[in-house]
Amino acid sequence: MSERPTVWRAILESQWKWTRGLALLGALVGFALPLLSLRTALATQSTASFIATMQAWGVGYAIAAAALGLMTAIAAWGYDHRLRHVYALSLPLARWRYVLLRFCAGLVMLALPVVAVFIASEIVAHSSMVPKVLQAYPVALTLRFGFATLVAYSLFFAISSATGRTAGYILGGIALIIVAQVVISSANLQVDLVSRSIDLVFAAPGLLAVFGGRWTLIDV
């Protein structure tokens, strides 16, 4: 065995072992999305439908960001949950430091797909096949993808780190809104709780505001 690693290095190496497949798959998806979107958009007949096709592919980025965030968070805590956190708690490391190091290790894993999105977006942006009247937004798209992945990962990391009871509270809260909406609707009251709750979450400065907006690599 080589020289004794640092604590950060040890956590990073263990996290890499658990999430490398996911990180590489995410990088592949992140690289493919811009290229596939351009390919399908070039098959359209008009500039307007070109834009519409690029917009349609935008959903893929949002889904990829959410999925990567979720799965990386689950992977970060998976083995600790399985082992009931005995090993982690028995290490001579303050709990808050351990949690923070695990979080940061996950961020490092997520950097791969974000970089892949940027590289592929730049390739598309410099493609000669893009209609000259349109503009490419590779940096903007990459930043949005990065922020979305960060938010999704942070949210699911927090839920994953909590006890089952906490997750139950969250799900219970969501279920309560739905049940309340059903009751309100059956009383013929014109109150849309579900839509308002969704607006609260998806409109700035809501938790998932970054998932709203445009995810278009090439636009007017």
Binding site: M1, S2, R4, P5, T6, V7, R9, A10, E13, S14, K17, W18, Y79, L83, V86, Y87, L89, S90, L91, P92, L93, A94
Partner: protein
């Protein structure tokens, strides 16, 4: 007597009818402290409380001179822990597990870790999850020892291991202890094993400490007496009678605790006659002690 571990009025009540109440435990520095008790007695729970893995409801815990769980980081850097169930990440290889563990322990002894790994025949690139039960047990002991701890907390470390592996593990443990004067708290069902290696013994049952004393004192102090003509009601005895049973129609068998040889004079007075003094091994003594404790409750 300097203590490595001390608890005062320690209490823990997770519900489901089980609780640890008023636990006063004293583990001397440098002792090999055997922790005996039936299943569900609270041994594992007590160990987790001592290491700050569970929150105590009442009382105080001092480990290596530091209050727990406040000084968790300092204490765990000097403590090697082998839990009841394997706690190493199963996807890591043996080598990776050593590397990971070493990162957290500044006193990690890499050459000795390698020596132990070879001694235990652990293949470096074999996944932890693919190791046999014995190999996993050896790996956990290796990790605990290689970090050069002042305190070793071993929760049934040889449970389920074959005799050869058990011997290897205990030899490594004793070898370390003999050189480094570490304190060892070891819980086990294998009474004979504890009898061989421990110099202190504690017996726990249903969340309470039944007995805590040097091994020699425990073994010497528990005797089986053959007594004739014993009255139904006895005057105050200098020893503790754990049990009185008929002895095949010829008197009674008394199981006593706290016996010393000068107590034979008790039987000089009119009444009971002492016919024979018999020794009990640790297991018998443990069983009888528990039985009397439960009957008293």
């Amino acid at each position: 007597m300097t203590l490595a571990i001390e608890t005062q009025s320690l209490g823990y009540a997770p519900g489901r009818g089980f609780q640890i109440s008023n636990l006063n435990m004293k583990v001397p520095v440098g002792s090999l402290y055997g922790f005996l008790g039936p299943n569900g007695a609270g041994k594992t729970t007590t160990m987790r409380l001592l290491l700050g893995l569970l929150p105590a409801a009442r009382g105080s815990i001092t480990v290596l001179g530091e209050a727990m769980p406040a000084a968790h980081v300092q204490v765990m850097s000097r403590t090697g822990y082998v839990p009841e169930r394997p706690h190493i990440y199963p996807t890591l290889t043996v080598d990776e597990a050593l590397r990971f563990h070493s990162a957290f322990h500044p006193r990690w002894d890499q050459p000795w870790a390698e020596e132990l790994r070879t001694q235990f025949n652990l293949v470096p690139d074999r996944r932890v999850g693919a190791l046999s039960k014995g190999e996993t047990g050896k790996l956990m002991m290796l990790l605990a020892l290689a970090q050069k701890p002042d305190l070793l907390m071993l929760d049934e470390p040889t449970d389920g291991l074959d005799p050869v592996v058990r011997r290897d593990v205990l030899e490594a443990l004793l070898s370390y202890v003999s050189v480094h004067q570490a304190t060892v708290v070891i819980s086990s069902h294998l009474v004979h094993e504890l009898e061989r290696i421990c110099d202190w013994i504690a017996v726990m049952d249903r969340g309470s400490l039944v007995a805590e004393l040097p091994m020699r004192q425990f073994k010497d102090g528990i005797k089986r007496l053959s007594v004739a003509d014993a009255p139904a009601t006895l005057a105050a005895t200098p020893f503790t009678i754990l049990a009185r049973r008929p002895d095949n129609g010829s008197g009674e068998q008394w199981l006593v605790r706290g016996w010393s040889s000068d107590m034979q004079s008790y039987f000089g007075a009119p009444g009971a006659t002492l016919r024979k003094i018999g020794d009990l091994d640790l297991e018998d003594g443990f069983v009888e002690l528990l039985r009397s404790f439960r009957e008293a409750k």
